[in-house]
Symmetry: C2
Subunit: 205 residues, 2 copies
């Protein structure tokens, strides 16, 4: 069985990073895809850990060179996923985990849908999302309000996802995530399915 892809989406403040962190010894070998962005680092964020932080010019050059699996503009900044490390991880039979938005999810489904399982992670309510964003206090009010508006729009697309994790209890949400991650590895690629069908037709005894 080859590698597989797990797409995670959901508003900032949904708890995605915490859930992945708490799950990491229970989901086998994986590669967490690090996005490239033109937005400025928040306090405590590191280049090559949280994101690859690049200039707008560098990002646009990479677009032209076809280096992105997907990219999009959110709140006026570019966000994208470089193709190379993903292809490498898949060839090593790893589970590739993406933390991307619904636009990114659509693009990855369109390009590699046969390998993709997707989950939308959300806080239980809008009020709880606001509470978390304000208590994290890394962003100012106008950015938080933008994030909240964005969340209201994103949640309308939850029916595009295979699974929804409602994070009102971090341990329960983590357990659900582990189950989904382990199931997502069991997807066969289109190529593997085709080989199986051909094999069954051509081996009459």
């Amino acid at each position: 069985m080859g590698g597989a892809i797990l797409v995670l989406s959901g508003p900032s403040g949904a708890g995605k990073s915490t859930i992945i962190h708490k799950s990491e010894t229970y989901i086998g070998e994986y590669y967490f895809s690090i996005s490239t962005t033109t937005r400025l680092p928040r306090e405590g964020e590191e280049n090559g850990v949280d994101y690859y932080f690049v200039s707008k010019e560098e990002f646009e050059e990479d677009i032209k060179a076809g280096q992105f699996l997907e990219y999009a503009t959110v709140h006026g900044n570019y966000y994208g996923t470089s193709l190379k490390p993903v292809a490498k991880a898949l060839s090593e039979n790893k589970l590739v985990i993406f933390d991307i938005d619904i636009q990114g999810h659509r693009l990855v489904e369109a390009k590699m849908g046969d390998l993709v399982t997707s989950a939308f992670i959300t806080p239980p309510t809008l009020a709880e999302l606001k509470r978390r964003l304000y208590s994290r206090s890394t962003d100012d009010k106008s950015i938080i309000e933008k994030r909240v508006e964005n969340a209201k729009n994103e949640i309308k697309a939850i029916n595009e996802f295979d699974f929804v994790i409602i994070n009102d209890d971090i341990d329960k949400a983590t357990e659900e995530f582990i189950t989904i991650a382990n199931a997502s590895r069991l997807k066969l690629s289109e190529k593997e399915l085709k080989n199986l069908i051909v094999h069954w037709q051509n081996n009459p005894s």
Copy 2:
């Protein structure tokens, strides 16, 4: 979270019953849907355990009365799933497991697709399928050959399934089944998704 449906398909001889039996203490509360059929019981099969065995006339009356979630003709016999016990189990938040063929799967997806996760279970090779069917020796040669032909056709539809379990090691196949069964419970119904979306739009603080 409400009930959910797990559809299992695959040739007789794939090991479905064994896998379900070995999994049963690891997948939570479930209802294994018992099909109704007009075919004759094999040796050792019990009415109400393996199938509900009924006459062709009874079956056709139930079709007219709209009692079936799905039904089909295979090898000249009727096979069908009665609606009532499924609805009851779903209302009790159970996982409903179906062991049905690819026609049945299509019909269940059409009627209750939002609740359905599906897995196709297959022996690794056609030769291995034959070996298992002959060593089980409950059917005569002509029936086995029919099953083998049927398997060759069914396997062409594996891309319609969310997951494929290749049963070449019963413990590994069982573990994969348990993972899939637990993930399938995490599906939200269309109604639950709609409620979530509405809730997020209407609670601005």
